[in-house]
Each structure stands twice: as structure tokens, then as C-alpha cells.
């Protein structure tokens, strides 16, 4: 069974890059272009992994993560894409139930490795 991943990032180009990279690896991708759309999808679809951008309009990555750990029946693992590496943000993210981080800029290979590590 192919694993299903949600990619939420408001930056078109980066979202496309992630989607293409992971589709090439055989994953099924659903895209969301902001936090609110991501949350709507999460309520309908069953997902194996969620990749969230930190800074998104509507709902931020952390807010989406909080909703996942709070209200969601299915609690997929979350990767947070972030340019911010401050301690306080890391703390806040961990409180929201985020276990994995990927700092921008990242290389597609790094991302694939992390995704494989989580999903196998």
C-alpha cells in the first residue's frame, strides 16, 4: 500500500518541489496551500504523515499541529518545515506534538531520508 502524505505550504514552488520529490519515491500526495485547507483535509482524509510549513496564512503550522493532537481521530506523525531554529519555537512545537523538524533550506534527499525513516 502506498503511503499518503499531506504537504501544506503556502509557497507554491516549495510545495511543488516537495510533492514532486515524494511522488517520485512512490508516495501519494495531497496538497494544501494554507493552514486552514490543511486542517479541512485532515478531517476528511486518513494520512500517514503530515508535512507542515511553520509560517502559513489562515492557521500557522503550530496551530494545525495543535488541532491534530487535540481534535483529530487519526494522529499522523508531523514534520515541521521551519526557517526558525530558536529554542522557544522548538519548545512550542514539541508541546504541539511535533516530533520532526526540517530546517529550510533543505535538500530533497534529506527530506526523503527523513520521510523514509518515519514511515518504515
Amino acid at each position: 500500500m502506498n503511503k499518503r502524505i499531506l504537504v501544506a505550504d503556502d509557497e507554491d514552488v516549495l510545495r511543488m518541489l516537495i510533492t514532486d520529490t515524494l511522488e517520485d519515491e512512490g508516495y501519494l500526495i495531497t496538497e494544501a496551500e494554507d493552514g486552514r485547507a490543511a486542517w479541512e483535509i485532515l478531517q476528511i482524509e486518513t494520512l500517514d504523515l503530515v508535512i507542515l510549513d511553520y509560517m502559513m496564512p489562515g492557521l500557522t503550522g503550530i496551530e494545525v499541529a495543535e488541532k491534530i493532537t487535540g481534535d483529530c481521530n487519526n494522529r499522523p506523525p508531523i514534520i515541521m518545515l521551519t526557517a526558525k531554529t530558536q529554542e522557544s519555537d522548538m519548545e512550542m512545537s514539541k508541546n504541539a506534538g511535533i516530533q520532526y523538524f526540517m530546517g529550510k533550506p533543505f535538500s530533497p534527499i534529506e527530506l526523503i531520508q527523513l520521510v523514509e525513516e518515519i514511515l518504515t
Partner: protein, 545 residues
């Protein structure tokens, strides 16, 4: 390794779009600017555009995500200029040329050139953008005098004249251009705010083709211009004679050389090709006017026709350049013939009112042989010999020698010199980097940057055959306009592009009057700048090579 081209392309397009959207707004919120920079920083480095990411990071220090301030275009464009330049720079580098869409006329060897006489900057702006997006090259004149000079020097394919230029009546210039234009099939279009039948009648009496009322619908206008150009092109196709001198024209030369090449391949029938260039012709036009200049050209053409054999061909190659093709003749014989023509021409006394003067020409000569693969090369060889003749003192006939000091000549001719005069060190640096990698045929490009007008003027620019100056309008010490008039006081050939703020409409007009060839308003894209430089050098003397 994965290719990032697709993402880079999309990303860079998004960046340009963003800036275009912002340009439409009266101001942009500081937090919007922050968000934009944040996204550039994060994304650019992930798709292998690290320089762009670094630039964004640097600039981010100047904006606060929590700020409630709004920025006006002048301020944000200045802040973002490094990013914009960097983005535009990448865009051109990453995209293969073939992928760029070719517009109708761009497929042709030479883009049609439109001369516009207009001093309303808004209109000019609009017109230029619109026409350039259709692949036309635009010559700008803000005064009648400049319009006339451009008309004679550059022979545009179409002329647009705004009839009601401030303070002056456009009718006189209209008559002069119109009469001349009709005889060389150049359409003249008049635009005007006054649509009275009296004026319309007057305008049409000058043989202008179209009289269009402002405000202008640019879609309709573009179509009209295209139709006029297509019509003229089809007419010109049927004509192989230069109207003024009765010599053959360039279109004919192409056919002729194709035939000669086939002959040579079939029967080894060789021929000589010479390029002749009138010496100091510009002085004639400047001192006695173009009518006298035209007479001189006609006389030269008559001398050439009278002293050539029926099997020879005389072609008017450019403004004051002629090509003579002589079949089955040795180089020595050809040289002797040309020298006779030169003596003959030198002996003619030209008159204008109370003045009398004589003129000479310089010629470069070469002969067809096996090593010449393209006919263009033959012209280049003759031209190199001509160039050597000009340098060693004009009024001579020089035979092309591949072994001699040609590399030096070649270097001088195949070099584009660009001078960037701007007090902003970032702009100097980015433009220098970008322009150094610019391609212009097989020319090498040398860029020099100056932080003010004084240091530019002090430098030695002699021997810069193709020289482009990018001149900032506002400079510390000597002002940009002053620098420009200094340049023009001794040099008409250097191409000058003013770099100026959008709000400086008056200065742009002033600069054009003093003799700037073109202008760019900040923020500009380097793509556009490079395209403009290419066009201007191509138009410039020797640009055809």
C-alpha cells in the same frame, strides 16, 4: 541529481509577478515585505538559488514583521533592488534562449524599428512597453531636431509623431520627414489630441498615412502599426534598388552573394568584394545638412557606377557604406580599380551655398577563397581591412591580410565596453557581475564601474569602439545630466542609458534632449537592461557584425 530548473523558473516568475503587483499599489505594508523576504529566503536556498536567499536574509534586517508601517514604492523598490536584480539575473541565466517565446517580428533578422517623437513621458512609457512587447525596437525623440537626426541616421521602419508638441508646431518637421519617408516607403503615423477636420486635412496633405486621435487604444494602434509594417515589407520585397543612390540595396546583396557562392562552388569562379565608407561623412551632414549629405551619396554612387564593369555590382550597404562586388578579377587589379575610383571621387568639388569641399572614402578589399564558409565572413574580412585603412589614415584602399595585426583589430571591434556610473555600490557590483556574462554575438564584454561622474570622465575611454555608459541620474558631486553633456560635448558615438527614478520625468526628457539614447527607471530588471543594451549596440555603428 534532480534538476531544479522547473522550480527556479516558477519561483523567479512568482517573484517578478509579486513586484509587478506591488508596483500597481500606492504603498505596501511592511509586514507584507517581511513575509515576501521570508519566503524568498526559505524557498530560494532549497531550490539551489542560494545567492537570492542570502540577499533576502541581508535585507530582512531592515523590516519588522510586527510593524504597521506602509512603504511607498520609492522606498521598497530601493530596499528590494538587490533581490530584484539577482532574481532577474538568474532568470536569464537559467532559461535556455530557445524557450523564450519569439514574437512575430523577432523571428526576423532585424526587428522593425519605430521612431517616436513625443514628449509626454507617460504616453512614451506606455508606448515603448507595448511596442517592445511586440518585438519592435523603439527610437525615442523628445525634440524635432533629434527626431530628424534619428530619422536620417537610423532609418526607422515606421515613424510616429505626436502633432502637438509643447511650444512648437509639428507641421514643419512632419513635412520634412513625410516627404522623405514617402520616397523610402516609411509609414508616418500622426497622433494628436486635436481632432478637428482642419488639422486632419493639413496632416493628410503632408502625405502622412494615418491620423489617430488621443487617447489611443493601444490594441488597435498595435494592429495598425503591424499592418503598415507588413504592407511596406511586401512592397520592399519587390524592390531591390536604393531609391536615393540607385545602387542595389542590401536585400539584393544577399541574393547576389548566394549566387556568387554557388558559382564559386560549381566553377571556382572567384570574385573580389570591397566595402567603401565615406570619410568624415558625419561632418558633412552636421555642417551642411542632410540634403547636401544625400547629394554626396548620389555622386559617390555615380562615380562607382561609371567606373565599374557591367558584370560588377554596386550596393548601398549602410548609410554611407557601399559594397562593390567584382567577379573574375585579381585582388591587385581590384585594388587598382578602387584607387582610380577614389581619385575620381576625391577630385569632385562639392558645393553648398558659398562653401566648397572635397571628400574621400576608405575601402577594404577581400577575395573569395575556399576558406570562406559563410558569405558574412567575406564581408567581415573586407570590413576588417576597411577598419585598418581608417586607422592608418583614411582615403586608402586596403587588402585584407589574415596574418597581420588582424587579431588586434578584431579585438577592438569585437569588444563591448560597458561603464557603470552609480554611487550605489550594490548596484555597481550586481550590474558588473551580470553584464560581464552578457552575450553579444562573439564579442567579449568588459565592464568598468565608477562611483561618480568625475572618476568616469577622468578615465581613458579612447579606443572603445562599442561603448555603453549606464549613467545614474543622481550622483554625488557632478550631476548625471552634467556628466551626460560632458560626454556629448566630445563624443556622439557612445551609447548612454540613464538610470533614474520613476518620479523624475522631467529629468528623463532633459536627458533625452541632451543626447541620452535611452533610459531605465528603477527598479528595473537586468533582463530588460541587457536586452536594451543589445539593441542599442546593434544599432550602433558596426553593430551589424
Amino acid at each position: 541529481m534532480q534538476s531544479f530548473e522547473k522550480y527556479q523558473k516558477l519561483f523567479l516568475t512568482n517573484v517578478s509577478k509579486k513586484i509587478e503587483t506591488w508596483q500597481e499599489l500606492p504603498f505596501v505594508e511592511e509586514k507584507e515585505i517581511y513575509k515576501f523576504l521570508h519566503s524568498v529566503k526559505g524557498t530560494a536556498a532549497s531550490i539551489q538559488l542560494p545567492e537570492l536567499s542570502t540577499e533576502a536574509e541581508k535585507v530582512m534586517d531592515h523590516v519588522n514583521p510586527a510593524s504597521t508601517t506602509s512603504w511607498q514604492e520609492g522606498s521598497w523598490s530601493e530596499l528590494l533592488q538587490p533581490i530584484f536584480l539577482q532574481a532577474a539575473f538568474k532568470k536569464e541565466l537559467e532559461l535556455p534562449v530557445e524557450e523564450q517565446e519569439l514574437l512575430e517580428f523577432q523571428k526576423e533578422e532585424k526587428q522593425p524599428t519605430i521612431l517616436i517623437l513625443e514628449n509626454n513621458l507617460d504616453f512614451l512609457h506606455h508606448f515603448r512597453n507595448k511596442m517592445e512587447s511586440h518585438g519592435y525596437s523603439i527610437l525615442i525623440a523628445a525634440t524635432e531636431e533629434r527626431a530628424l537626426n534619428l530619422f536620417y541616421d537610423e532609418t526607422p521602419d515606421l515613424v510616429v509623431i505626436d502633432f502637438y508638441l509643447e511650444n512648437k508646431n509639428g507641421l514643419e518637421i512632419l513635412e520634412e520627414i513625410s516627404t522623405q519617408a514617402t520616397s523610402i516607403l516609411t509609414p508616418v503615423i500622426i497622433i494628436s489630441e486635436d481632432g478637428s477636420p482642419e488639422l486632419a486635412k493639413k496632416v493628410y496633405e503632408t502625405s502622412a498615412l494615418d491620423f489617430i486621435l488621443k487617447p489611443i487604444d493601444f490594441e488597435v494602434f498595435t494592429t495598425l502599426i503591424r499592418n503598415r509594417l507588413l504592407h511596406v515589407r511586401s512592397l520592399k520585397k519587390q524592390i531591390t534598388t536604393d531609391k536615393l543612390t540607385k545602387a542595389y540595396n542590401r536585400a539584393y546583396l544577399q541574393d547576389l552573394l548566394d549566387r556568387k557562392k554557388r558559382n564559386f562552388q560549381r566553377s571556382e569562379e572567384t570574385f573580389c568584394l570591397a566595402i567603401l565608407d565615406l570619410d568624415d561623412f558625419k561632418n558633412v551632414n552636421d555642417s551642411y545638412g542632410h540634403t547636401v549629405g544625400d547629394k554626396v551619396l548620389v555622386q559617390l554612387s555615380e562615380v562607382l557606377h561609371a567606373s565599374t564593369r557591367p558584370e560588377d555590382s554596386v550596393i548601398r550597404y549602410g548609410g554611407e557604406e557601399f559594397i562593390v562586388v567584382m567577379p573574375v578579377i585579381s585582388r591587385i587589379q581590384a585594388k587598382r580599380r578602387l584607387e582610380n575610383m577614389l581619385e575620381e571621387f576625391k577630385s569632385i568639388v562639392h558645393t553648398n551655398k558659398n562653401y566648397e569641399f572635397s571628400l574621400s572614402f576608405t575601402a577594404g578589399l577581400t577575395e573569395m577563397n575556399e576558406s570562406v564558409s559563410k558569405m558574412e565572413d567575406l564581408i567581415v574580412q573586407a570590413d576588417l581591412a576597411l577598419y585598418r585603412g581608417k586607422r592608418s589614415g583614411k582615403g586608402t584602399v586596403t587588402i585584407y591580410e589574415p596574418t597581420q595585426d588582424i587579431p588586434n583589430v578584431l579585438n577592438a571591434e569585437k569588444q563591448v565596453h560597458i561603464s557603470v556610473v552609480d554611487d550605489d555600490s550594490i548596484i555597481r557590483e550586481i550590474l558588473s557581475d551580470r553584464l560581464q556574462t552578457m552575450n553579444f554575438f562573439d564579442h567579449s564584454v568588459e565592464v568598468r564601474a565608477y562611483k561618480d561622474g568625475e572618476s568616469f570622465l577622468k578615465d581613458d575611454h579612447e579606443g572603445k569602439y562599442k561603448h555603453v555608459v549606464l549613467l545614474d541620474g543622481v550622483l554625488p558631486g557632478m550631476d548625471g545630466l552634467e556628466v551626460l553633456s560632458q560626454i556629448r560635448s566630445y563624443d556622439q558615438d557612445t551609447v548612454v542609458i540613464m538610470l533614474t527614478g520613476r518620479q523624475k520625468g522631467k529629468d528623463i526628457i532633459k536627458a533625452l534632449n541632451i543626447g541620452a539614447d535611452d533610459y531605465m527607471t528603477k527598479p528595473f530588471s537586468t533582463d530588460e537592461l541587457v536586452a536594451r543594451i543589445r539593441r542599442l549596440i546593434q544599432r550602433h555603428k558596426g553593430g551589424k557584425k
